[in-house]
């Protein structure tokens, strides 16, 4: 078990190193001059040169990379070129808003997806099942931002139930969270449905029924724990990617999170912020992968022997 964990840890260190190399390469290759962007259009040649020296851009590539790496490991993602602030503080400042949205969205998608998936599985091939699957296909195909705009129009404008975007409490977070929920619920519905159907066919269920256990007991204590495994994986990965910033939703609803920060940075060509967010988001994804893998080792010991 310990060996497995150590192997995975080494793996993610290598992965994170690789991510840093790729992110750095992108920064290095881009055809724009950071010194000029920081200095502004009216800066003189001397100012640009001094900025270039300050940013360490006149050093050879590998030196630049090592400096980049050492700073990143210490949590210093550099300074934004547009706002004179630390990238890491910008990200941390916006994290609570994104987390609020991420958790609400996750909650809704699980509620909708899992309940519909279970409903489908329990009534396999019935009209309910077909309707749920049809609805899943529809919401899978809908572009997220469009769904958000439609919901805003219907429930924020036609029927003035919700505010037209912005940050706040339940009223403000409901529509964006609902959009996320509707976008991602189909995945959970379909996956949970097939997972449940698979468990329904298992032998131990026949034994449980033969023993005369209550159906509710069977479902909660035997079926659910087995069927929920892939859901946990998926939910974990979703959470990690959401915390990295739900760009489209935040843009449509004007939600001041990491995603909106990324969008503004892309718009303003503020490279350190963009790269900082990418690093942050990748880190979350890799760490969540690790957490999920290790938890699987506890749930299903067979994976340790791979």
């Amino acid at each position: 078990m310990t060996r497995y964990i150590i192997r995975r840890l080494i793996g993610i260190v290598l992965t994170l190193l690789g991510v840093s190399v790729i992110v750095f390469s992108i920064i290095y290759i881009i055809p724009s001059d950071p010194a000029r962007i920081v200095g502004g259009p009216e800066a003189s040649i001397e100012t640009i040169h001094s900025i270039r020296h300050q940013l360490g851009l006149d050093q050879p590539v590998h030196i630049q990379y090592l400096r980049f790496l050492s700073r990143t490991l210490r949590g210093d993602f550099g300074q934004s070129w547009r706002l004179r602030r630390e990238v890491s503080s910008l990200i941390l400042e916006r994290l609570p808003a994104t987390a609020k949205l991420a958790l609400s969205g996750l909650l809704l998608e699980l509620m909708i997806g899992l309940s519909l998936g279970a409903l489908s599985a329990l009534n396999e091939y019935s009209l309910v099942d077909r309707l749920v699957m049809a609805g899943s296909f529809f919401f899978l195909s809908v572009p997220g931002f469009w769904l958000g705009l439609i919901l805003l129009y219907l429930f924020g404008f036609q029927v003035r139930l919700f505010p037209l975007g912005g940050y706040g409490g339940l009223k403000h977070v409901f529509l964006p969270a609902l959009t996320i929920g509707l976008m991602y619920a189909p995945w959970y519905a379909r996956m949970f449905r097939s997972s449940l159907l698979e468990v329904f066919r298992a032998d131990f269920l026949t034994t449980a029924r033969a023993k005369g256990l209550l159906p509710r007991h069977i479902f909660l204590r035997h079926v659910l724990p087995n069927a929920i495994k892939p859901v946990i994986t998926m939910a974990g990965m979703d959470l990690a990617s959401f915390l990295g910033g739900l760009v489209i939703i935040e843009i449509v609803f004007g939600w001041p999170g990491i995603g909106l920060l990324a969008w503004k940075a892309i718009f303003l060509m503020d490279i350190p912020v963009i790269m900082g967010i990418i690093l942050f988001a990748s880190f979350l994804v890799v760490m969540m992968n690790l957490v999920v893998d290790i938890s699987y080792a506890f749930i299903d010991p067979r994976v340790v022997y791979q």
Partner: protein
């Protein structure tokens, strides 16, 4: 002698038993696949939708009632609303904020979506199959390559795509290349897994033992086994790509105006949502419709090409 007798007996079969014998007629794999596809009504609907989109995209010129980029002064009046009364049949689906005919722009937008979908996926699939197959065959090199793929997959795709497109100045070519650059990793991983298992098939081992060179084995024996996977994921990939392209265009990171694209139409129309909601509604429906079609077809193909049925 007995064979001749047997065939005589067979020839004297009564009609009711002929039908029973027909199920022993050998069908080729392609026929089996078509047979299952044909029975899957949902997949057929998807296929029809895909056909519709393709036809509209190819025959945009004769189909579109107006020039998509021409700004009509009449469009900026009451005639600009969709589904006008029967006397004013000029702009069936209304006009946008610059007086351009929405219906024509929707039709030409299909072309952009399809071009991006096909080219980006073709590129991603080519690279993915190449990398996946090579990785599947090399031992240490394969693990290294897959590590690299894992690293690429850890980076959130939307952020990466947006950053790349904005850095490289958005255009049709850039969008195609960037989407391919982000998407090939998924395909490479799928192909890798498939190649790993196909490698162990008996007929591959037999070919190797007879001395067939590896390159020939890969091209003539392994790749055809990958065909179901390629077909399914090309179709599903096109559906994803159409959505991604619409999203990028909506953010201004797609094909640039005045080229009509569904996402771009929604971007412009967003500002007029209160007075002219159809400017956002209609392109969104177009995207949903096209994506749905490819999704249904792809899922149907996945079921029809399910290896469990063919082996």
């Amino acid at each position: 002698m007995s064979k001749a007798l047997a065939s005589q007996e067979l020839n004297n079969e009564s009609p009711s038993q002929e039908g029973a014998l027909s199920k022993y007629k050998v069908k080729s794999q392609t026929q089996v696949v078509w047979h299952h596809l044909y029975r899957d009504k949902v997949a057929l609907i998807g296929g029809l939708i895909v056909l519709l989109v393709v036809v509209v995209a190819i025959f945009a010129e004769p189909l579109a009632p107006h020039e998509p980029n021409h700004q009509y002064m009449e469009g900026l009046t009451d005639l600009g609303a969709p589904f006008p009364p029967s006397e004013n049949r000029t702009f069936r689906l209304g006009t946008d904020s610059l007086g351009r005919d929405v219906a024509s722009r929707l039709i030409y937008g299909a072309r952009v979506s399809l071009v991006v979908g096909v080219l980006a996926n073709g590129l991603a699939m080519t690279v993915g199959v190449l990398v996946g197959t090579i990785a599947g065959y090399l031992r240490i090199g394969g693990t290294l390559i897959m590590r690299f793929v894992d690293i690429m997959m850890s980076i959130p795709s939307y952020l990466l795509a947006m950053a790349l497109v904005s850095v490289l100045r958005p255009s049709l070519a850039v969008v195609i290349v960037v989407i391919a650059a982000v998407y090939w990793t998924y395909l490479a991983r799928l192909v890798y897994g498939e190649v790993l298992s196909v490698k162990e098939y008996d007929f591959i081992l037999a070919a190797q033992s007879v001395g067939v060179p590896i390159s020939r084995i890969i091209i003539r024996h392994i790749l055809p086994q990958l065909l179901p996977l390629i077909i399914v994921y090309l179709t599903l990939g096109i559906s994803t790509t159409i959505r991604v392209e619409a999203t990028l265009s909506f953010l201004g990171l797609g094909v640039q105006p005045p080229t009509p694209s569904w996402g771009g139409m929604m971007k412009l129309g967003r500002g007029y949502f209160r007075s002219a909601p159809w400017l956002v509604l209609l392109p969104g429906l177009a995207v949903t419709f096209a994506v749905l079609g490819f999704n249904l077809l792809g899922e149907g193909l996945r079921d029809a090409l399910d290896p469990r049925r063919l082996r």
